[in-house]
């Protein structure tokens, strides 16, 4: 149950850890772009602009019990749930040691069973019914697990969004559906994706609670996910959360966003960057000092340098492994 006296706002250690994870996700992503533009890795799909909501949501969940079904921008979430920086770079380089797929899938297709990170694919929103299935199974087994699933706002138009949420709602399953609304589905803006004002309003049609929060506000996201988590554990069913921020980069390394949005728009959104806002809060509270920042940046840089170097030098899967693990035949394993 919730500790009623607990206040995230004054928990210095937790807040500093949150900041570290947000910043790590951002710095990893920035390095990925450098590696891509210098011809070292073929593809990047970015988390920039969504780190705050990802980390704040993660801190409201239970690492031991909850199942996480991330989508392709969730670098922050998978880091929090135990994927290492090195493993993220192994994925970017498609090396054999990549825990997500051994280099079989593109970057951003996360999955790591030991950390309850559920494998994902490229057709969007297929993970939504899966989350409902995890919650159904956990309920059948009387386990205190919640399924947490994320997706973009464009995904909310898919049939699987509707089918997965409706099923969870009917059976009052412990699922949290969090829409990371970054305002663009590649080039198509929100207004051309949906006619309703808020994605969270869609909850009404399923008879469940819908919450809209500023995705750049860590406290708001944390509070919403915590509330949803409590509802899930109390048998009150699923919650739909819409966290709004902005995609600060092009859709991917293969996209040129200047063809569909203005530089001014991007610049003005960058000024609202939630990571800066969160840092300023910590500085104002006296939780973070200039020298802490320098030390933290240096630590992260070293971690990322080491991970990059390791991944660069790691071997690819041998071509002879191409046919492994199609089925669970013993001779293949």
């Amino acid at each position: 149950m919730v500790n009623q006296t607990y206040s995230l706002e004054t928990d210095k250690d937790t807040l500093v850890n949150m900041y570290r994870e947000m910043l790590l996700a951002r710095r990893i992503d920035e390095r990925m772009w450098l590696l891509n533009r210098s011809g070292n890795i073929p593809f990047v799909v970015s988390c920039q602009g969504q780190e705050v909501m990802q980390i704040a949501a993660s801190f409201a969940l239970n690492k031991e019990h909850d199942y996480i079904l991330p989508y392709y921008r969730d670098v922050g979430i998978v880091l929090h749930f135990g994927m290492t920086t090195r493993e993220i770079f192994l994925q970017a380089y498609a090396k054999a040691e990549d825990p997500n797929s051994g280099g079989r899938q593109m970057p951003g297709h996360f999955g790591q069973k030991k950390n309850k990170l559920v494998t994902g694919s490229s057709p969007v929103t297929t993970q939504v019914p899966h989350a409902t299935g995890f919650a159904l199974a956990a309920k059948m087994e009387n386990k205190p697990s919640v399924a947490f699933v994320t997706m973009g706002e464009g995904s909310t138009n898919q049939g699987d969004f509707h089918e997965g949420i409706n099923f969870a709602a009917v059976h009052k399953l412990p699922v949290i559906f969090m829409v990371e609304n970054n305002k663009y589905a590649i080039s198509v803006p929100y207004a051309k994706q949906v006619a309703c004002e808020n994605i969270s309003d869609r909850a009404i049609g399923y008879g469940i609670k819908g919450i809209k929060v500023d995705g750049n506000d860590a406290f708001a996201v944390y509070g919403a996910v915590k509330e949803a988590h409590n509802r899930a554990l109390n048998g009150e069913g699923p919650t739909l959360i819409e966290a709004v921020s902005y995609r600060l980069t092009p859709h991917s390394s293969d996209d040129d966003d200047s063809s569909y949005r203005s530089k001014d728009e991007v610049t003005s959104e960058k000024a609202k960057d939630g990571i800066e806002k969160f840092k300023n809060y910590l500085v104002d509270k006296g939780f973070l000092k200039d020298e802490d920042m320098e030390k933290l940046e240096a630590e992260l840089k070293k971690e990322i340098n080491d991970a990059t170097e390791y991944a660069e030098n790691a071997p690819y899967a041998d071509a002879s492994t191409l046919t492994n693990y199609v089925y669970g035949h013993k001779e293949e394993n």
Partner: protein, 327 residues
């Protein structure tokens, strides 16, 4: 030993597997108190309760997708598509997800789900309650497609499907549900997935088929025996991946091969069987491989003369065997 119909064999396998393993559960439309529109899940709700016999919303992608999630968690879901014709909204979940989960995660995650669906015509079901849909799923490594022909195999193969570590699409011929009966052991037994079965031995012509057409082929073979034509019948049982060894042996044995399906000919399962034979049996063949299949129309019409014209039957098979024997 009790005599069971094809559908009773389905039902018995479900009862037994749910009794033996509490991770096994069923989900689908009308599978609860009603026991399914064909009564495949009859009695399960009363015995195992609503938590393990789940009436779902009418939404096929969720039936498959929720089942897939539960399977990844470690359960053994048996999802029912009410008619194979309605599986189309779930194709993305079955092909993009279930079939690829082991491979794409490099063996980290697995998806041991069974998806049951009644297929096939001859029951006045018209275009959307009669289709054969197996070919859509028969080039998806990671997935297994099982299509039993008789009650004994139904029970043994469904148990194998539920116990399998990988996703299995289990297609039941709905006209066979009450048409076919035979003695089925009450004890626990399994029939292996991936193995074809010789349903009749013969020397003149080899018929290779699956599902209800096995029954029609047997009827044809019995009649032809009186004329002195001896027919070998291979029941594929698993149509993907195919049991190449048995196909090659049986084709080589007689040198004359008739392939039969109720599905449309072009792009069907038997086209692949024909390719296996042509790659492996050239010098053993005494006649061109012959395919007997449904016509190239989208699906089976409702009006009786049109439906009858579409459907496979013993006469069509008998004539084709005779022609091959005389070649």
């Amino acid at each position: 030993m009790a005599v069971l119909t094809y559908i009773q064999a389905v039902n018995q396998a479900l009862h037994e597997e749910m009794e033996q393993n509490n991770k096994v559960f069923v989900l689908g439309e009308d599978v609860g108190p009603k026991g399914g529109v064909f009564l495949a899940t009859e009695g399960l709700y009363d015995k195992f309760g609503e938590s393990r016999v789940i009436d779902t919303p009418l939404a096929e992608s969720a039936i498959a997708g929720v089942g897939i999630g539960a399977a990844m968690y470690g359960m053994r879901p048996v999802a029912e598509m009410q008619f194979a014709d309605f599986i189309m909204p779930a194709v993305n979940q079955i092909i993009s997800e279930a079939a690829r989960i082991r491979y794409r995660s490099n063996n980290d995650w697995t998806c041991p789900i069974t998806i049951r669906a009644p297929y096939g015509g001859g029951i006045h079901g018209a275009l959307y309650h009669s289709q054969s849909i197996e070919a859509i799923f028969a080039n998806q490594p990671g997935l297994k497609v099982v299509m039993p022909s008789n009650p004994y195999d139904v029970k043994g193969l469904l148990k194998s499907a539920i116990r399998d570590e990988d996703p299995v699409l289990f297609l039941e011929h709905k006209r066979a549900y009450r048409l076919l009966k035979e003695e089925v052991p009450e004890e626990d037994y399994t029939v292996p997935i991936g193995k074809a079965d010789i349903k009749r031995t013969g020397d003149d012509v080899t018929v290779i088929t699956y599902g209800l057409c096995v029954h029609f082929a047997k009827q044809a073979a019995e009649k032809l025996e009186e004329e002195g034509i001896s027919t070998e019948i291979v029941d594929l049982r698993t149509v993907y991946p195919l049991d190449q060894e048995t196909i090659i042996q049986a084709a080589s044995k007689t040198g004359k091969v008739l392939l039969v399906t109720e599905d449309n000919k072009e792009g069907s399962i038997i086209g692949e069987v024909s390719a296996i034979i042509s790659e492996n049996c050239l010098f053993d063949l005494d006649a061109p491989v012959r395919r007997l299949a449904g016509p190239e129309v989208p699906a089976m019409p409702y009006a009786p003369p049109l439906e009858k014209e579409f459907m496979m039957n013993p006469d069509k098979i008998e004539n084709a065997i005779r022609e091959l024997a005389e070649f």
